[in-house]
Symmetry: D2
Subunit: 339 residues, 4 copies
């Protein structure tokens, strides 16, 4: 941590800062500048955010952190990308691009079965579908809940596709874990720390979505919550951030993929359906995500988008998804990956 003193600060104020740094267990290094002093306090800053309290001291202009506040998620801990085994044949973080596809919500047995068969035929390796739905409006369809989980399990039995579905509160996390192969934490819960801790205690891979106003560093801090509870199987998912642009539902931040690649060993996927909110843009952004280095994709596919209970405008029809997968294969190869 670097403490920048104000120009013309009294020596007593500077000395108080030096003393405080020592009390906090650091060795301060004083650098005299031409117009002001700068103090270096190098050490393990993690878990010691209290050092920030120095900002409140007299004569301090600013305090700049140096070390990353996350440990277990850091690329320094693990030079290789972590491979997360979801089933005997599905591994996320390896050479193969993993595509998770299916409807936004489970709506009926017919709908989820039809979806599962269609996405499998097109080459998807994981089935997605929401049973518990976090909806902005209390008047919107909130999901089929446990009945939806059962239908997902039945679709897995039918097709062999492992299942990813969302967990929306700590109370129902274990229930969801009984049925699901991957537990999804949605964007709106990405800093619901009680929930993060809970899934950190379960033995299931977790798909963590980035929050709409979450910096990449905060994203890794949320992953750190799960990792620090003992669950090392975390998949990060870029799904768009909120910006001033309204032509798309969110702004899919694909640069987060190479940035995360440098910062963390955790695998990273992208969700172009939520990222754009418009089925016309899903295919180009899916190709772009793989070109940017994504380990996988999450894509909404619905047999009848015009009658979907949620997110119809961003869902692909099975035929469009099949075409997407065919072309995606070419991009995967260009990226030295398989699909």
């Amino acid at each position: 941590m670097i403490i920048v003193m104000k120009a013309g600060t009294a020596t007593a104020d500077r000395d108080a800062v030096l003393k405080q740094i020592e009390e906090l267990g650091y060795k301060p290094h004083l650098i005299h500048g031409t117009t002001r002093d700068v103090i270096g306090a190098i050490g393990d800053e993690r878990g010691k955010l209290i050092l920030h309290s120095i900002e409140a001291m007299h004569g301090v202009e600013s305090v700049l952190p140096i070390l990353k506040p996350y440990k277990l998620a850091s690329r320094e801990v693990n030079r290789e990308t972590t491979r997360i085994r979801v089933s005997d044949t599905v591994v996320i973080g390896g050479d193969e691009i993993i595509v998770m596809a299916g409807p936004c919500s489970v709506e009926s047995e017919a709908q989820i079965m039809e979806s599962a068969i269609a996405v499998k035929a097109a080459g998807a390796q994981v089935l997605r579908g929401g049973a518990f739905k976090p909806r902005t409006s209390p008047y919107s369809f909130q999901g089929m809940e446990e009945e939806g989980l059962k239908l997902l399990a039945r679709a897995r039995d039918l097709t062999g596709l492992p299942v990813v579905t969302e967990v929306i509160n700590p109370e129902t996390a274990e229930l969801v874990a009984e049925y699901a192969d991957i537990l999804q934490i949605g964007a709106r819960n990405s800093q619901n720390f009680a929930l993060l801790k809970k899934v950190g205690q379960l033995k299931r891979p977790v798909l963590l979505k980035r929050g709409m106003a979450m910096t990449i560093q905060e994203f890794l801090m949320s992953a750190e919550y799960i990792l620090s509870e003992g669950n090392q199987q975390v998949i990060l998912c870029e799904r768009g951030i909120r910006t001033f642009e309204t032509a798309t539902r969110n702004t899919l931040d694909l640069s987060a993929i190479p940035v995360l690649r440098g910062m963390t060993h955790l695998p990273v996927i992208a969700d172009p359906s939520h990222g754009t909110g418009n089925h016309h843009y899903v295919a180009p952004m899916a190709y772009a995500a793989v070109a940017a280095g994504a380990d996988g994709l999450m894509i909404e596919v619905h047999p009848d988008p015009e009658h979907a209970s949620s997110d119809g405008p961003q869902s692909l029809k099975p035929s469009s998804f099949t075409a997407l997968m065919a072309k995606l294969r070419l991009f995967a190869e260009a990226a030295d990956r398989r699909l």
Copy 2:
């Protein structure tokens, strides 16, 4: 809802849209324009987001919602601002500006007692203090939990100040409600719908903070979750949104105050401490919030900010808070309010 058709759309596509609108229970109104058709589908759109599925149909360029998706929170329901009685003497939403002050976290009996006495002496009407702390880092201080709640209750006994403190998950909500006079929902949980429903079922006023990436309309939808469960006592709190500007921790969106005033009957307060993240800016932004029409303020005050466990840089010392309150009185009077 207005459906704008693409220029040159086939009649069959347009008719399919008209049919779909009727199937959804609306009466469509077709307007022939010079270059394209526009269809009006007027009715109660709330709870029928499925209408959005029309966006996925052939020939549809865009679908524009018209009615607000919230009902109970709407100013149309209640022309007068709702008054929320927190104690025999404290009412939020009336003529009096209510100031909630205290430390970010409860750290010890001495600290919270000293804080309570100081903020009361300066004129605050409610004591704030966190017992359960949602922290970005799993390695940061997470709060004193139930022990902290007990200390808050003791501070209330000592000073007579009602207490506001944060609820971070549904499981501990009832525990918090045993001790607290107002239940706070933090910005990171502002779309934690399971938690919103839970506090909607309790008999305590709720202070709902705006999320960092939350539009004002979404803010009211989150309030609607609480209201629709039967709890009518919701206080909205503007606490800063996330923008590109880094000179302040967040950007305190004071224009949200008059905007909310027009849209909802719920009282609105502002939190200049989290909104700016810097104790130098708290006083001017507190004055500005009252000038913009806020019904109250939430301000962090700590007897020793340099040794605070959290948020030291944005906490005021009691002496600064006393000066702020003296000057705030003048602004309250200019705004035809009392303090």
Copy 3:
């Protein structure tokens, strides 16, 4: 344009709005809703923003535009993507992906010649280099000005590469046009309407960069300024927008590429160097841009980034650029394009 009236508006207020619409030359269509009236006023809204003045009338809740405010840039005008011929062999908007590469600033004859030879050898088709530099700080290097233009022309003579360089004010636009093959309008001048009009009057292709806070619709309005002055040769360039994320210098909004593809016939390229601000992220984002459908790229290459006068951190060394181009070819093929 759709005018939504407030619930319970007096008939006189509604009639005043109807009258005003007629005075403005539109035919109003009144739709009675269950809780409020809605008025459609269909016609050519372009150039008649005055219709917005209706927002100021009594009883009006909101006014929703329907038609796009741009004409000449619209995809409706031209179903095929416009091909812009820069030289006998370089056409932007066709099958070939066009890569413009070179240093941020022209710094010396040796530097620009070395750069030009290197980028040509790697397969770039256009040489970039700034002679007039718009710099945030008045104390930063402001460019070699006309001397820089001469060096660019000499580099073109040497290599045969056409040259793109920035125009920063109307006064020097003609001077730049004497030397350059493509006139670049920088992000900070993207709403400098006097400059847009000026380059609209010149006979040179224009590369228009998106402003940092510019919506896609505003981007097309800026293009419309150039088109409406008679210059049809406009290339759009996505170069990152400003968001809360600080891990990258800007957030490269690649979804703008498919969005623009649907809205306009103008070709679209991407600048991953400015978009990310970090040379580590340039290659993956270049691949991603082509996968998303970009017609070309603009990439900063410097023979010695550590001693660059500007933008060193985001410049590639020639060897890295050569590697990028080799791999980019694979992505171009996957996208059914050539390089």
Copy 4:
């Protein structure tokens, strides 16, 4: 500037950085940390952005600037707020709150005269009105140009109010300066450096508006362009930044006022009309701006907003403006200012 080295960097790479720092004329200070080295390079960083090129070197994780890049605008240069004398009676930056009011555009002699008389009667000290209008659409009204300037001068003769009007390009800057008392630089030109330099060479106070995506530091850098050309009379104007919130046209960042107060000696005003885009919100945000410490306000007033050529929805009628001024006086007094 602080250079943070990557963990495990080779000594040769570190030494290369130390050498480069020395070559750039700084004295490096090496601090050995437990996991990585940190190098301090203290000196005058301004005008030496080249130091940033170190970011491109091997082993460098990040480079953190310490000193502010602006000089002349800094509060360190001048502890007192600069007072800018606009006329014999109008001084900006002193005790008196200065209100600039009038229509968005000059539309006719009758309109500007009526406006001038009305705003003077209500207590405004400066008349605003646009003659050259930078409009997003080329099809919108572009202003009356020189004819508009003449009408403004006539309104000044009639009322004695000095006049502020916008300059949109270097070519017409001198023409505008012949008529205007204050030269306004609009938000879209806030990084049009050619224009900033030009008004820096004129002998007229400049009102510089903050750009929509401009950080506060960049705002001061744009002021520095004007100051460094010799014109010390710069008034800063906060007018809203672009965020995700669409309930207001922009988000008026009132916290910029106390932030700027700490960073610069230049006076700061606010524009609640453009900041909110809605006449309903102008009064509360005007009061809030003064409470936050603004030295003045810029407010759009139009005798007939429903027929305004531009910005009707955000313009106040004279009667509303008169009411605003009466109440504003109370807030000015609470803030220890006069109106």
